[in-house]
Every structure is written in structure tokens, then in C-alpha cells.
Amino acid sequence: MTAAMLSRRRFVGASLLAGGGLMFELAVPIAAHAADGAEPRLLTAFIRVLPGNRFVIGGKNAEIGQGAKTSLPMMIAEEFDVDWDQVTVEQTHADQSLFGAQSAGGSRTTAREWLPMRQAGAAARQMLVMAAARKWNVPEDGPTTASGMVKDRRSGRSIAYVDLAPEAAMLTPPDPSALKLKDPAQYRIIGKPIPGVDTPAIVAGKPLFGIDVAQPGLLHAVLETCPAVGGRFKSANLDTVRALPGVRHVLTITGNGEAESLLDGVAILAESFWAANKARESLEVAWDDSAQAGFSTESYAAQAATALGAKAASEVLRKGEPDAAFAAAARTVEARYDYPFLAHGTLEPQNCTALFKDGALEIWAPTQNPENGRGLVAKALGIAPEKIRINLTRIGGGFGRRLMNDYMVQAAAIAAKVPGTPVKLLYTRQDDFRRDFYRPAGWHAFAAALDGEGKVTAFRDHFVGFGTGEAPVRAGELPGAMVPANLVDAVLLEQDLLATNLPTGWLRAPGSNALGFVSQAFLDEVAEAAGKDLPSLMLDLLGSPRALAGEGRGPAFHTGRARGVIEKVVAMADWQGRGKLPKGRGKGFGFYFSHAGYFAEVVEVSVADGQVKVHEVWAAGDVGSQIVNPLNALHQVQGSVIEGLGQALAGQKITQVAGVVEQANFDTHPFQRIDATPKINVEFVITDNPPTGLGEPALPPVIPALVNAIHAATGKRVRSLPVDLA
């Protein structure tokens, strides 16, 4: 989309609907976000004004439980000036040329949509005001609006939006960027606790999710792939399986060697999922996994230990004079930390429905990243992107797993072999655990130099992760802008990268969910050596309020906002009074900055017989000037906190023998349960900054806060996850 195209295109179109309503199509120019690197583009929202003065607003983003299907229409409805109970939200299909970005990732939706969604609503409202002014022959700045009505205070006249449809449809639309938006003090929807738009349907058990997609003549598919990810198909007893009850097709799928696209497999299509999966028990496949069989958890650990004992392969960042600073240090603190691979375990297993007919594909997908899927399907199957329609279903948990679209390519590849027949591919739980894109494991050897006053003068991290050459795997990067590397004058970050056959991916707060743990737990050790507590050490490191440049596309880091949440949580959690806790009980602190959000958290634990009990958590966050939906915001923080505690305490780790992942269900890769849920106190520090997202930034700090609390309670340092005090 070029600037010239932007200026030529109408910003708002209004047209009459059959039956007397009005359809607004609102195209709002979005300035290229510097961090996006994308060209300016149009965002199209829609509002349908229906007889009875009711309004249908399009919800354009994939809904994974993060609340965007409710929060984005709230922004439109606020400026359109209607009541929320007049609004119905309708999920759009995937089309970025119409709707702009529709992905659910990186906690970016709120920041990206905050302005254009409100402008869209304001532009539609303005057209109705103009229509009323003409009808009443009054100046356009005269009429006001409320609850879907235009009013003229002087004459006392009022008219419903729907009754202005004929006039509004004739008008030339206003430029949304020239419209004055509401003063937040006037908000009647934004900032109010509004339940999710799908909650009534969820409670009633209505079909909403990808797994619930129904189509006439649908066949159910299961897909067998090599247990060691990446192995190639050699042969199978296909005819035996074809003869089993209910089985309609048994197909070999030839992959392209890319896990994020399509790997070799055997698909069984049957009249029911159960029949397909039962037939699978009789399937015998010979795989060539000679290139994968050498990878194991044990060998990664041995290679990491060797690497950490030697000079690193490459430097990621050298800032100031770290060697000189360490040589001059009054004291050096060193410690090694590590964490395992993790799976996502979305409760709705990966699935996708596809129909290939007349050279075109229709897809029903629970995907966080639909346009990425369209591109992958087009490339893998040689189908033009415009011949692929993607319908967005509600998503039974994302956490980053569904930013990948392997299941979409697989379903499309299977459907392409049975033209005219819709196919629903569903993973079993074992498939889901063994075909994940895992949070990568990592090892860190840290060192910090302290001067005579206990000030940190240098910071070093020798990181061992995974990658090829000097290119780390997805979600396995060591960012130079991470806290505290961005706060210390002399820094050396270096790395060694190991090979793996496991595909890796983004897990809620990717990078930060691991780096927050290791860096803040290590800094707690540094603080102890310096004779301080961690909040004090952090405030020393942060110094005066100022903005520090982010790395690459990353956001700037404002030290003042970090101070604000640290000071807030210290007060909330009675941090200074922690010395009064009984023996065996302790409080720990953690801070992290991720996804543009600032969170500081305190965890209180007791430890008895090696068992950790979390009693209470305090979280203070700064995500800008406005909490869009406080009901959901609280939910996101509570969920992040419990998920983070689970990563440390529930026993989660993905391990591998001979290239194969060992975990296959929730018993061996457990997630947190209700009986381990503590009291969680949440407060937001409101600052004069544009609102940003809440899906992720509350997660990273809770893990170091937890292990630092275990240290406070027991004197033991936890330097490896999951926590094992035995």
C-alpha cells in the first residue's frame, strides 16, 4: 500500500443494507509502525447498523483467550458512541488487505489498534452527526450523540442512528485523522469491566472452536509422523490399514523437510476421529531417522558443560571494557543457570479443517497467525494465495504454539489429495506434545564485577543455546538489550550454539520467560554479595529516569517506568517487613521488562520437607495510560503469574532420547492446577504512555521472584528449572 493509494482510497464508505440498515466500511490509515518496518496501510473495520438500532461490529483478530475479540470492538463502540448492550461482535475471516494485521502475538494488538480502532468508530459517528445536521438544517458542530442517538440540544430533537441511514449513505466521509477523539474521562465502555463476547456461548457449550467445525461429508484425519522429528518416510503397511473399519483413505504425505511447513507423514482418513485413531494402532511405518537419532537431553547437557568450560564461539555484545572492569573488581560473583525445553500444551489440540475444491482451498483454522499460514500453504502446495480462504475459529489456547501453522499446511496437503471432501485433521495429545515448537533449553554462566561500594561495574553472560553457525534458533536469542546488560557500563555477552532436531518456537513471553528467571535470580545473588536486597540493587542500576534505546525492532526501555513498578510492589507486598516472617518462610522479588510492559512481582513461599508452597503473589505493572478492559486485564496477569509458577514448580520439562521427545501427556509434562493457586494481588501503575499489551509481560518476573523467595526461606539457590529441592 503506497501513500498515493492511501490518499485515493475512501476512508469511510456507508451504504444502505437491504431491509433498512446501514453498512459502514471504515478504512483507517495506519502509520507505519517504526518497529514493524512495514509500509503504511489501511485498516478496515466494519459496523453494521441494523433495524432496531442495533450494531454489529467486526472482531478482526484471532481470539485465543487474550480478549481481543472483545477489546477491539470496545474501542470502536466507544467512539461510535453506542451502548455496549446494543452491540454484537462478529468474527471476520482472515484478509490482511481488508483488516490489517490479524495476528495474536507479541502482546502487540493493543498498542497497534488503540488509535485506528477509535478513529474508525469516530469517523462513523461523525457521518451520522453530519447526516442529522443536514436533516435538521443546523451547523455540523451542533448535534451531540449518546447511546446510538443523535441529539440537538437546542431544539430537543433526537433521532436513532438507523433512521439516518439514507442521509449518511450519501455523504462524503471525513478524514478520521482529523477527528477529535473522546477525552478518556468521558469513556463509558473503555476502562469498564466487560465480559468476553463469547462467554455466554462458552457457558452453553456452543460450537466455537476449530475442533468443533462441522461440514457436510467431512472426513476425520489423523497424521502419523516420524517420532524423531524430521525423519523421512520409508515404507508402511498402508493396505492393511485401508481395510480397517471406517477407514476411507490412507495417504502418504511427502514433506519438504521444514517442520514449520510439512514433514513426511501417513494420514488416515475415516468416518470418525475415533475410527481413524483406532486404525492408527495397526499402522506400522519404517522411518529413516538416522539424522535425528543422535540428539538427546543427555548429550545437550554434556556439550553445554564442555562449552561453558572453554572460550565461547562468538561474541554477541561487547560494551565498554569488561575485561578491565573484571580485573579491577573488588569482588566477582559467578553462577551458572539452566532451563529445559518446554511444550505449549494448548488444551485444544492442534487441528485444522480444509476443503480443496475447483482449485481453491477453504480453511477453518484456530491460528494465531493466519497470513503466515496462507503463505506457507501457498508455497507448499503451489496454490495461489488468493485462492485460499481462511476462516478464523475461536482458539482453545495459543501461548505462541499457533503462531506456527504446520497443522494448517498438513490439513491442506491432506485435503488436496481428496478434492471435494472436507477434512478435519486433529492431533492426539501425544501428537501435540511430540510435534510442538518447543521453548528452547539454555545454559548461562554469569559473572558480575562489584567495586568497593557494592556497585555493579561489569556483567558477563556466556550463553549456550541452540542454533546453526552464529544464528540462534527461533526464540533462542540472547538480546543485547536485556536487563541488566542495558544498565551496566561494561558488558560481555557471548554464546555457543548446539545443534538439535527439535523445532523451537515462541512460548508466552518468549526469550523473557527464561532470561527473566536466570538474570533476576543471578542478580539476587549479586545483591546479596553487595549487602543489599534486589529491589535496592535494581533501583541503583536503573539510576535516574531516562529512555534507553531498544534493540532492533524492540521498544525503548524507560528506567523511570521500571522504578515506578518496583516501588509500587515493594509497598504492596510490605517488602520491608519481610524480616518478620517465621523460619521456613520467605519473600522474593523479580522485575522484568518484556513486550513493552514493565512488571515487578513479589512471591511469598514456605518450604517444608522439600515441598514449596506459594502463599501469595503481588504484581505491579505499567502498560501505559489506559487499561482497556480491567476484567480481562486482571485475568491476563493472574494467568501469567500462575503459568510462570507452573513452569518452575509443576515439573515441566521436555526431554529427548535418540531424537524422540519422551513426554506424551499432561502426567509427564504437568501444568499448574487449582490446588496450587495462591492469592494474587494486582495493581497497575498508570503512566502517560500509549497503552500496550498484557498477554505476556507479567509472566517473566514471577519465576525469579519465586526462586528468590525459596532462597529467602531456605538459604538454597535454585539455579535450574524445574525446581527440585530433593
Binding site: 452453553a204 457449550g205 488444551l347 475461536r394 476484567l631 494467568g639 502426567d667
Partner: protein, 156 residues
């Protein structure tokens, strides 16, 4: 083989392999997709339904074993007084995030409230620990059960 049982108060008859799990019979043969598949091994509780009022895991229950018995699913639970109260509390407090586990959570919560009208935290945790919520909506599940307990006796 024809299998007859009652689902949400209505007599149903299906002709399927009696070994087929009740979960898939509900979803595929009876047009009731509200009951969810999560693990297939009785570990997550997403498939929880009631068998003669008690919470069971439909993914481990062969449909042949419920012959002649009465099943209640999420689609029909609002007909029970406790089901109605739990549904209202779930909506008012906005318990779901992604929502995928909530059918199972609600079925377990209704079974609990039917047996223990006014459960404390310990009773809630004991009854609900078999239901995994990957979004961790546990704070609100506890609050929802307490709100539903409190509204006992209130008019529909």
C-alpha cells in the same frame, strides 16, 4: 449394535461400536460438541460429563457401558438448578479466557455443588484439581463456585 441411553433428559439411540468412548459418541454421533477432547487419558477433565449425576471422564468411558443410564452434558446442565447458578456466575465473573476447558470445569463444579452446597477452598480444590485450565483461570473458578453457592435458593 444399538445402544440406548438418556442424554440431557431425552432418550437417544445410536448404532456404534460399544467400545467407542462416550466423548466421541457425543461429539460425532449425537451432535453435542460442547464436551471437549483434551488428553484422551483422563488427565485434564475437559471431557467431564455427568453419569446419573456424578462427574465422569467421557474420554475413558466406553459408550456401551452407559446403556440405559442418564448422561448430562454442558448443553443440558443449565436445566439443573446448580447448573443454572454456575452458568450465571461464570458469565457475571467472566471466568473463561480461551474457554476450551470450561465445559469440563462447569460440569465438575455443578457436581460439587450438588453434593456440597457451600464448599470452602479446600473442598473446591479437591473437587476441581482434576480439571486443567491451561489459561489458569483458577482464581475465578473458585470465585464462581462460591458465587453460585451463595445464589442458592435465588429465583431463576
Amino acid at each position: 449394535m444399538a445402544i440406548r441411553f438418556t442424554v440431557n433428559g431425552a432418550a437417544r439411540e445410536i448404532d456404534v461400536d460399544p467400545e467407542k468412548p462416550l466423548l466421541w459418541a457425543l461429539r460425532e454421533d449425537l451432535g453435542l460438541p460442547g464436551t471437549k477432547f483434551g488428553c484422551g487419558a483422563g488427565l485434564c477433565g475437559a471431557c467431564t460429563v455427568h453419569l446419573d449425576g456424578a462427574a465422569i471422564r467421557a474420554c475413558l468411558t466406553p459408550v456401551g457401558s452407559v446403556e440405559g443410564q442418564s448422561i448430562t452434558t454442558i448443553e443440558g446442565v443449565a436445566a439443573l438448578d446448580a447448573g443454572r447458578r454456575v452458568g450465571e456466575a461464570w458469565h457475571t465473573l467472566d471466568v473463561p479466557q480461551c474457554g476450551y476447558c470450561q465445559a469440563g470445569q462447569i460440569m465438575s463444579a455443578v457436581a460439587l455443588l450438588t453434593e456440597v452446597p457451600d464448599p470452602d477452598d479446600a473442598a473446591i480444590d479437591a473437587a476441581m484439581a482434576g480439571n486443567l485450565c491451561r489459561c489458569s483461570t483458577y482464581v475465578r473458578i473458585r470465585a464462581g463456585i462460591k458465587a453460585a453457592a451463595k445464589s442458592r435458593g435465588a429465583a431463576a
